[in-house]
C-alpha cells in the first residue's frame, strides 16, 4: 500500500516513517510536488497537513478532487491547526486528526481503517 505524506515540517518525517512502518511512504514538503508525482504514482491514501509552504492543504485537496483519477483517493488530514469537522464532508476527507492530541497507535489504526474501507 502506497501512502503519500504531505507535510512541510521535516521534523515529522521520521515519526511517520516509524509509526507507518510497513507501508510504502513517499514524502512531500509541498503540495505542488505531491500533485505532480500523482501523475506517475497513484497513492492508496494521503496524509495531508494543512499549513504547507506554498499552496495550503485545502488548495491541494481542491486540485486533487478536480482530477477524476484522484477524486476518490482517501485523505487523512493531520494538522496542528483546529479544523472544523464539517470540512471533512465539504472536501471528502476520510478523517481529521489533531497532531497535538492523536496517538501513534490511534493514527496508525485510522490509516489502516481508511485503507481497508477504500
Amino acid at each position: 500500500m502506497r501512502i503519500f505524506v504531505i507535510d512541510d515540517d521535516k521534523m515529522w518525517e521520521d515519526y511517520y516513517r516509524r509509526v507507518l512502518r510497513g507501508f510504502d511512504l513517499d514524502f512531500f514538503h509541498d503540495g505542488v510536488a505531491a500533485i505532480s508525482e500523482m501523475d506517475e504514482k497513484r497513492p492508496d491514501a494521503i496524509v495531508l497537513d494543512i499549513l504547507l509552504t506554498g499552496p495550503t492543504g485545502f488548495a491541494v485537496l481542491n486540485e486533487m478532487r478536480s482530477y477524476s483519477e484522484l477524486a476518490d483517493v482517501p485523505v487523512v488530514i493531520v494538522s496542528s491547526v483546529e479544523i472544523r469537522a464539517e470540512l471533512a464532508d465539504d472536501y471528502g476527507v476520510a478523517a481529521i486528526l489533531d497532531k497535538s492530541t492523536m496517538t501513534p497507535k490511534g493514527f496508525r489504526a485510522k490509516i489502516e481503517e481508511v485503507l481497508n474501507a477504500a
Binding site: 512541510d8 515540517d9 521535516k10 521534523m11 515529522w12 515519526y15 509509526v19 504547507l52 509552504t53 497535538s100
Partner: protein
C-alpha cells in the same frame, strides 16, 4: 540574479508590539508544533523494539524540546531588551557560529539536512552581545533547516564588508522567499511577527526575534533573494579591540 533588502538598524524598527491576542496566537502556534511532536515521539517510544531505535527517538525528543525552550528563552529576552540587560562587547562571530552549528548539528541530521560553515573574514571582532548574536544565527539556521532543500547544505557565512562591517549570513538552497514577505521585511514589517497566513508553516517568529536583537545591537538585518534560495544576514560593526584568538 539576486535582490537584496536591508532593514536599517536606526529607525526602521521602532518599538511597536503586537496586541496581546495576536501575539499570543503567534507564540502559541510556534510552540504547539514542537510540543505536539515531543508528545508524539514520547508516545511512540513503545513502538521501538531495539535500543538503537529508543535512543534515536530519545535524541529527537531532546533536540526538539531544546529547540522549543530556546524559542521561549528568546521571547523572554525580547521582553527584557528594554531593561538593557544585554551589554555590547567585542565578540568573535566565528566562535558564536561554531557554537550554533555544534548545537544544531543533531537537529539538522534528524531532518536529513546539512549545515556547513564558510568563514572568509579577515577581521575578527564585532561589537555585539554574544547571547543575542547566538540567537540571531540560531534562528537564521532554523529557518534554513525548515525551508532549505535536501540536495545542498545550508551555509553559515562570515564575510568582511566594504563599509567596514562584518556580515554573518545563513544561506539556504530552498524555495525563494515569496515577494510579499520580501516586501514586508523591506518595509520593516518584521518588527511584528509575520502573519501566519503569509507563509504557511511559519509564524515569522524567528525573523521577528532576529530583527529585534539586530536592532538592539545596532546592526543591519536583511535578506538576499537568490534564484535558488535565500540568505538572511546581519551586518555588525567592527570592534576596535584586538582579537587575541
Amino acid at each position: 540574479m539576486k535582490s537584496e533588502v536591508v532593514a536599517g538598524a536606526q529607525g526602521d524598527f521602532v518599538a511597536a508590539d503586537l496586541g496581546v491576542g495576536s501575539s499570543a496566537l503567534v507564540v502559541a502556534h510556534e510552540l504547539k508544533a514542537p510540543l505536539s511532536l515531543v508528545r508524539q515521539l514520547a508516545l511512540s517510544l513503545e513502538l521501538e523494539e531495539d535500543k538503537d531505535g529508543v535512543r534515536r527517538v530519545s535524541d529527537q525528543i531532546v533536540a526538539t524540546s531544546e529547540r522549543a525552550l530556546r524559542q521561549v528563552n528568546d521571547l523572554l529576552k525580547v521582553a527584557r531588551l528594554e531593561d538593557a540587560l544585554f551589554e555590547l562587547e567585542p565578540v568573535n562571530p566565528r566562535a558564536v557560529c561554531d557554537d550554533v552549528v555544534g548545537e544544531l548539528w543533531h537537529l539538522f541530521a534528524f531532518n536529513r539536512r546539512e549545515l556547513r560553515i564558510n568563514y572568509r573574514n579577515r577581521r575578527h571582532l564585532v561589537v555585539a552581545n554574544r547571547q543575542l548574536l547566538h540567537s540571531v544565527v540560531y534562528n537564521f539556521c532554523l529557518n534554513a533547516m525548515n525551508y532549505g532543500g535536501e540536495e545542498l547544505p545550508s551555509e553559515v557565512l562570515i564575510t568582511d564588508r566594504k563599509d567596514g562591517k562584518i556580515r554573518v549570513a545563513v544561506r539556504d538552497y530552498g524555495p525563494a522567499v515569496p515577494t510579499k514577505i520580501w516586501r514586508e521585511i523591506k518595509d520593516g514589517f518584521v518588527n511584528r511577527p509575520l502573519e501566519i497566513a503569509m507563509r504557511p508553516g511559519s509564524s515569522g517568529m524567528g525573523l521577528y526575534i532576529a530583527a529585534k536583537f539586530a536592532n538592539y545591537m545596532g546592526a543591519d538585518f536583511g535578506l538576499i533573494r537568490h534564484r535558488d534560495g535565500t540568505s538572511f544576514y546581519i551586518d555588525l560593526p567592527l570592534s576596535g579591540q584586538l582579537c587575541l584568538v
